[in-house]
Amino acid sequence: MSDRIHTLKVLDMVPHETATIKNRFYELRLEPPGWSNWSPGQFAMLRPAAWGGEQTWSKPISICSVNDKGLVFFFQVSGHGTRRLAQVRPGDDMIVVGPLGSKFAVYPDRPTLMLAGGMGLAPFVGYSEAHPNPGNLKLLFGHRLPLECYLYPACACKLGERTCRHENMNDEESFMAVLEENIAALAPVNGLALACGPGHFLRKVQEFSLKHGVDAQVSLESRMACGIGACLGCVVKPLLDEATGKNRSSKPQPKSMHQDMPAPVCACGPVFWVDSFKF
């Protein structure tokens, strides 16, 4: 058996809901995987052992946190697969392939702004738990639904945080202004921005970070079949420098990001430096 494939018992499946929003957001806790090599930003492919050939793909889910109490994921029901995933119960077996992919950078001495959009809060729970200098962390959380739907309390403790709920287009505009203001404020202090959330949110993070010269990483979401860089279903376009033929980003990159070929998000990402790829 590979060191990356585990069959773990489900400990809990806790719905996060309000009186009117039900059956959409779930916190899944599995027994501890005994990983020594996990880093925040990575993901795992989840597949209940009871699933047969009728469900084709395992589900790629961002790892929320790992500790001696368990391996925690947070997911939203967004289709047939996640609807079925939400039906697992304590005691069921879950096949976990992971940890997979790249991780968020950790610079203990640099002010670090975590930018989370909705479900994008998940990896920052583990990031803030593992960070050696949490005093340097700040969270900006944009969300459409009430805070009770998310894992907000698990992430917000001890952090300088700000939440922005946007329920309509006007809220969205004002949130984007707050987003730019917060990213711009990192430039004079050599800060770092990390983001996870929906595509349009990440595009804005990329735009504002490049505009203000701020180091930033985003975690991309993509449809994945294999999760290990073989099927090439989830790919991103590397940004290459015409003169050198190498990736434009000065940050360390996987080999595939230096080549003029689509690079798999699962194997080269999901976390990318914003100056290394094109949306």
């Binding site: 047969g52 050939g53 009728e54 793909w57 099927c231 070929m261």
Partner: protein, 319 residues
């Protein structure tokens, strides 16, 4: 159980191809093989078929390239690959060639390019056979697919065969035809040593809310357990029509699926979309097959192959 009971000997003009078991992996679902080496022992497989290679690197289609469907998936990757030289330099040397039959899948847009690819690979040590993807457009014939026209299927098979020296040539048939046996016979006449079938079925999915196709390429290839009945029918028809060996592909997920393909005449199977269920899936199948043979009292696969019995009842009145 005696290891030889799982062994399949595929009779070829150039000499037998011996597989330790009938579990191969399908092109496009198993990368170049090395991506999966962390998840199991490659040498435990009957063999692998690499991702399709073109003469030059290809970037493939825009995103989205894949969509999940009921008991399957659609893909329109567009044959992204590093090209034949990239494969020979960076991937082939990493494979355990002495213990693992490696079949190289090739793809081109003209018989000439197919011929060049075959010639380049013909003298490379360690390659067990070529698999020719004829589900691709012939640019000289207005984009008509090689695999949908018997004359073009014959031509491309002959071109590859003439350029490949002693390397066995397997042609991968498309199910998107009126008569798959007509194409199979054309490939046999063109000199094919083996046939594999089926490639994916052309399909489509839409995003209802966005009123868009689910794939950037609009249409894609359907694979997975959903297509197994079509694949079984094709393998059965082709195996009964030609004299050369046939390899089954299409929705293989468990040991029973393998036995079903062998029963209708296949010498081996290729496991494709099941590799996306979890990356160790194919590695588990030989042991699962062995256990299933014991349960079903199948003594060896070679003699089990092609033993489908069709009741001799021709009409309702004979019942």
């Amino acid at each position: 159980m005696d290891d030889n009971k799982m062994q399949m000997t595929i009779p070829l003009k150039s000499g037998d191809l011996v597989l330790k078991n009938p579990v191969l992996t399908a092109s496009g679902t198993f990368g170049y093989g090395v991506e999966f080496s962390r998840y199991g022992d490659l040498t435990g497989l009957g063999g692998i078929v690499t991702k399709g290679l073109s003469l030059k690197p290809m970037k493939g289609n825009p995103q989205p390239r894949i969509v999940e469907t009921a008991a399957g998936m659609l893909n329109a990757i567009g044959l992204q690959n590093w090209g034949v030289e990239g494969f020979l330099e960076n991937y082939l040397p990493k494979l355990p060639l002495e213990q693992l039959p490696v079949i190289v899948n090739i793809y081109a847009h003209s018989p000439e390019d197919f011929s060049s690819l075959a010639a380049r690979l013909s003298n490379v040590p360690g390659i067990a056979a070529l698999e020719v993807n004829i589900s691709c457009p012939n640019v000289a014939c207005g984009g008509l697919l090689f695999g949908q026209d018997p004359k073009m299927a014959f031509e491309v098979t002959r071109a590859v065969k003439q350029a490949s020296g002693n390397l066995p040539v397997m042609v991968k048939l498309s199910p998107n035809v009126t008569s798959i046996t007509e194409i199979a016979l054309a490939c046999e006449e063109g000199g094919a040593d083996m046939l594999s079938c089926i490639n994916t079925l052309t399909g489509m999915a839409v995003d209802l809310k966005g009123r868009r196709p689910a794939l950037a390429n609009v249409v894609g290839g359907l694979s997975g357990p959903a297509i197994k009945p079509v694949a079984l029918r094709c393998v059965w028809q082709v195996a009964n029509a030609v004299k050369i060996p046939v390899i089954g592909i299409g929705g293989v997920y468990c040991a029973d699926d393998i036995l079903e393909f062998l029963l209708v005449g296949a010498y081996a199977v290729q496991v494709g979309t099941a590799n996306f269920h979890r990356p160790n899936k194919a590695f588990e199948l030989p042991a699962e097959l062995e256990a299933r043979m014991k349960k079903l009292k199948i003594e060896n696969l070679q003699s089990f192959r092609g033993t489908l019995q069709i009741p001799d009842i021709k009409s309702w009145d004979e019942m």
